[in-house]
Symmetry: C2
Subunit: 337 residues, 2 copies
DNA sequence: CTGTTAGCGCATTCAC
DNA sequence: GTGAATGCGCTAACAG
């Protein structure tokens, strides 16, 4: 397959010097005379030399690649986090390798295994909702590979963590519904094992309590973060319960609920208020526009990447960082009666 | 950093045999007795052995990693292509590494360089719109690394190509507008250097000619694929020209145009018909729902991955494959007068 | 400023 | 069925 690749040996032979000199020259080592350095570099280009990163990594025992594992690549939130991570990593000379777990525990374990086998310099991970067993995270730590968890994290694992202020976002959203005059406010949450979701739930509860609102367990449903479940769950309990507002931990669940309400001819926002979470681009495209919580995902990505680089360089790392969120009011929650 | 990693040497020492035997046993070589094989495997697990993929790759001169370069990760189309690629690659024992070019030629070149340096077993690429120089593609070929281009391809580069039937999709969309009775149909295209876009343009022209429609160059605008340009370009020529319909090569441009029209109180679809391309999820969420062209991106990803695997295995590869598209009529193009 | 030597961890050829 | 020896391409310690 691969045509005979040019190595530093070939360059050395041509220039009648040793591979060491070539290696040093290419690395810009000033112990090599400027003249030789330039000559080597020029010849390398002429001969079409491409360094073998594999060999270099094996020798140096480390690699300039960082691995990142996310549940889904096609979420506004995650793709922005990725961009934020790249914004830090690329200038620092690292390459980012992205793996999708597709919310599947097995794929997540496989991804960890692959990254460790490839000796990545560090790993950034946001857990799949399905993940129940955390042995793969321990094996990252056992391997000595720096690890940073972000967004969907497990606190029992020893690693720096970067998360949004999910509690605050949920609190603000719920408070907004309350102040708009909605009376029976329900909640669609994610899997409470995941801290991001439990915190949103906690923020919701806190706001409800602060304003002496009645909390009805029947109006609270976990594991409801997709469009499908958002729609079906709303239909399932809308007719049997008094409910006039919903704070969803996911824009997609909110979208599903909103569509179901539209079909039932329930007017939003006059009869029903609804708020999502994540500020997906579609939130401002649908009708009515969906209120949501912006997570500053780009900044979160930068923060996580910086934490990882510090961890790699053995610099001090704040173990627990929080990125601010912002409530974005739109039509879906502005009671206009 | 990395704690002393267990190697086959350590296992050999413990079992009082040689690294060769361990290596063979781990690889399942039948020349090693079943008993030894099992013992080695068991001990490897017990000792927490993790194979060093780097060393293995250096030795074998190849790597079980495939590189993929896409302009943007957060496009419905691309993220689905990625899933399709994974659907083929993972079962085949390959790992996928994804790089974003962000539509930037330099980042694309850098990504190619990184992948080649990491000796990936093959590369899948969809070109950035900005890319003008194709030397990096030639260097992939020169390195002997199998290459497959998909979607945004350059025909002058010697490689298998997998694309959508863009011509057909554009033809069907334009034909639909014509049959709905729209008279002055414009076109927002992408960069015609990119075949995907030139073919959509060609399909538009073909439909217009087939039905003896008047083609007005003033109503055709290239490099208009973002929401912003879609909006600004529409505003720029709407008032000065007779135009009552638009076929856009991008859903985002169509969205921008649609928003501008909404603001100008132009009724869609009675006064103006509009169709996009790619069937982004938001197309069915906005109001009015946007007609578009579904590209079967998952299938396209599978097709491209299969082509690459065949190319890696030196099996015959169809050099030029086309994946069907489907026109999805929605409200934005159904003239209901 | 440059050469010599050694070895990263693994897979493979050649022995026996 | 197993061991010994070699080298993938590169870098780094040690000389000089």
């Amino acid at each position: 397959m691969s045509t005979n690749r040019i190595t530093i040996k070939d360059i050395a032979k041509k220039l009648d010097c040793t591979p060491s000199t070539v290696s040093r020259a290419l690395a810009g080592n000033t112990r090599v005379s400027l003249k030789t350095r330039n000559l080597v570099k020029k010849t390398a280009v002429e001969m079409g030399y491409r360094p073998n990163a594999i060999a270099s990594a094996l020798r140096k025992g480390k690699v300039d690649t960082i691995g990142m594992i996310v549940p889904r690549i096609n979420r506004y939130f995650f793709s922005n986090v990725i961009s934020g991570v790249e914004d830090i990593l690329n200038p620092a000379g690292y390459n980012l390798v992205i793996c999708q777990s597709n919310e599947n525990e097995y794929k997540e374990q496989k991804a960890v295994q692959t990254l460790l086998q490839n000796q990545v310099g560090g790993i950034l991970i946001s857990l799949s909702v399905e993940t129940n067993n955390y042995e793969h995270l321990n094996s990252i730590i056992a391997s000595g590979t720096p690890l940073v968890q972000f967004d969907r994290v497990n606190l029992n694992i020893e690693s720096p963590i970067v998360i949004n202020n999910n509690f605050e976002g949920a609190y603000l959203a719920t408070e907004y519904l309350i102040k708009q005059g909605y009376k029976n406010i329900g909640h669609f949450g994610g899997n409470p094992k995941i801290m991001a979701y439990s915190e949103r739930y906690n923020g919701y509860i806190k706001a409800m309590n602060t304003y002496n609102m009645n909390i009805n367990d029947k109006l609270i449903k976990f594991d409801t973060i997709t469009q499908e479940t958002g729609s079906s769950e709303l239909i399932r309990f809308f007719n049997d319960n008094e409910i006039d507002a919903l704070f969803c931990s996911s824009d997609f669940a909110a979208l599903g609920a909103l569509e179901a309400l539209n079909k039932m001819k329930v007017d939003i926002p006059s009869e029903f208020g609804i708020i999502g979470f994540a500020n997906e681009p579609f939130t401002k495209l649908i009708s009515p526009k969906l209120s949501s919580v912006e997570q500053n995902s780009f900044k979160l990505g930068r923060t996580a990447a910086i934490a990882l680089l510090n961890s790699i360089d053995n610099k001090p790392v704040e173990t627990n960082q929080t990125v601010d969120v912002e409530f974005i009011p739109r039509q879906s929650s502005n009671k206009s009666i």
